[in-house]
Symmetry: C2
């Protein structure tokens, strides 16, 4: 358990979406025993907006009496200058790496070149990603088994083992076209790989989960139902896992994994390349 | 346009999902004129796996004759030590910020405390996020207008202006429960705010898009259709925008914005808090 040892206001400030500042600040702060209150201030592109941000940060300082922590990423020097006057501890999230990289590459950085999370950075890969989301939605939860030749990955498993969020994350974050197909109670008497999926078994993976966890998750949806009963969950899981083994479908237990972890493990196992933009 | 001036192999190496290393490395590299080939190597948790990674990186060095760039984040010192022996330029993505933060806070960092993108870090907020994905899927594309009291945000707009990917991104990244509702051709003669949405207009936002871009996007779906015609697109957009103004629904033009930018702008306008885990 964490000991709550210190309080800090934390601000993520950026002239873009602030997603990079958040991701990094969040990861770094995770290493300290801090109680934090986080505020994200994106699109700080003008001196005016920067002055508003400065007032907000200075106000937090006045109220708490403690210097806030500011993780920021800003290109324009005149906007950056305003942020640098805040009464706070300031961390430029990119600069700490840009400087050594610039030295190692013997190349001057140009902050205007590439904005993270902007459509203009790589239009083709952005459009691929949107198409992947569409494909994945159209192939969620067994809705359709057509066009499986266009799938990057096919996920199988019992209801509520994590297939849908994983598929959407793969599409959203990595531009992966994911199909997911649930086995339901009616399938259980003669469980086999669906005929439509057989030709694509080389890109098919199973998800499974511990019985206890599945019971909890299903009870949140349909409390005290047969569907959520321990007997039903256990039986479905053991039959589906036996099928995965029989059919030599590699599978992954999702019980203690986040959607990010399930997704990146699947990429790792399958050798699929992440498409980033 | 970028000038391709130099080639580098780039590796993202992590004992976790490698999402933080990727996000940061990608943002930093965007400031340099480099032609890069990227490889992500997650879950490097053992000395053995680290040795395999080292071989891979050293092999890239041998083949290209150029030192690869390695962005890494690894907790265990013995695993880190192996990576540090790679014939490459090495960048610890967190360390550059952890050190000054540790000094400013007068607090020792503990890398084991908080792993990014792990379910154990904040179970409640993780479950909120999964629930938000479910809610958002159940309220995609006008499927349902029930339980709108539980929505964080409601998005309106013509077909193919970016509502679905934005809603899913808001849910996936920020744990926001998003409803989206499309206006279709049949609605156009007497366009009004749907009755079910009226009580929730305070959390309702419009998305719009330039005619030319909408024509392109719709043609990708149904080429040369009435639906994709310039006349139809222009008419729908002007009627829907007029309605947004009449009903005082704030709206955003998505033409040149990525899903990340649309989502973070909506959070900014609406004052909704990001839920992160």
């Amino acid at each position: 358990m964490r000991r709550k040892s210190d309080f800090r206001d934390v601000f993520y400030v950026s002239d873009g979406t602030a997603i990079t500042s958040e991701t990094l600040g969040h990861a770094v702060l995770g290493q300290f025993n801090l109680e934090i209150r986080q505020t994200t201030l994106p699109f700080v592109e003008s001196v005016e907006r920067a002055q508003q941000v400065k007032e907000k940060i200075d106000e937090a300082h006045r109220v708490s009496g403690i210097e806030p922590l500011v993780f920021y990423s800003i290109v324009l020097p005149e906007v950056k200058a305003v942020i640098n006057q805040c009464q706070a501890k300031l961390y430029d999230v990119l600069d700490a790496l840009v400087q050594p990289l610039s030295k190692d590459l013997n190349m001057q950085p140009n902050a205007m070149l590439g904005r993270s999370h902007s459509i203009s950075r790589d239009v083709a890969s952005y459009q691929d990603r949107i198409a992947a989301i569409e494909y994945t939605l159209a192939h969620d939860d067994g809705i359709s088994l057509s066009n499986l030749d266009k799938a990057d990955i096919i996920l199988l498993g019992v209801s509520r083992c994590g297939k849908t969020p994983t598929s959407l994350y793969l599409a959203m974050q990595f531009g992966i076209r994911a199909v997911n197909y649930p086995f339901i109670a009616d399938d259980m008497n003669s469980l086999r790989l669906p005929k439509g999926i057989e030709p694509y078994r080389y890109k098919t993976y199973g998800l499974t989960i511990d019985t206890e966890r599945l019971v909890t998750i299903r009870n949140e949806r349909y409390a005290n139902s047969q569907y959520a009963s321990e007997g039903q969950c256990e039986s479905e899981l053991s039959k589906v896992e036996a099928m995965f083994r029989r059919e030599a479908i590699p599978y992954l237990n999702t019980t203690s994994l986040s959607v990010e972890e399930i997704s990146t493990r699947l990429l790792d196992i399958s050798g699929l390349k992440r498409r980033m933009c």
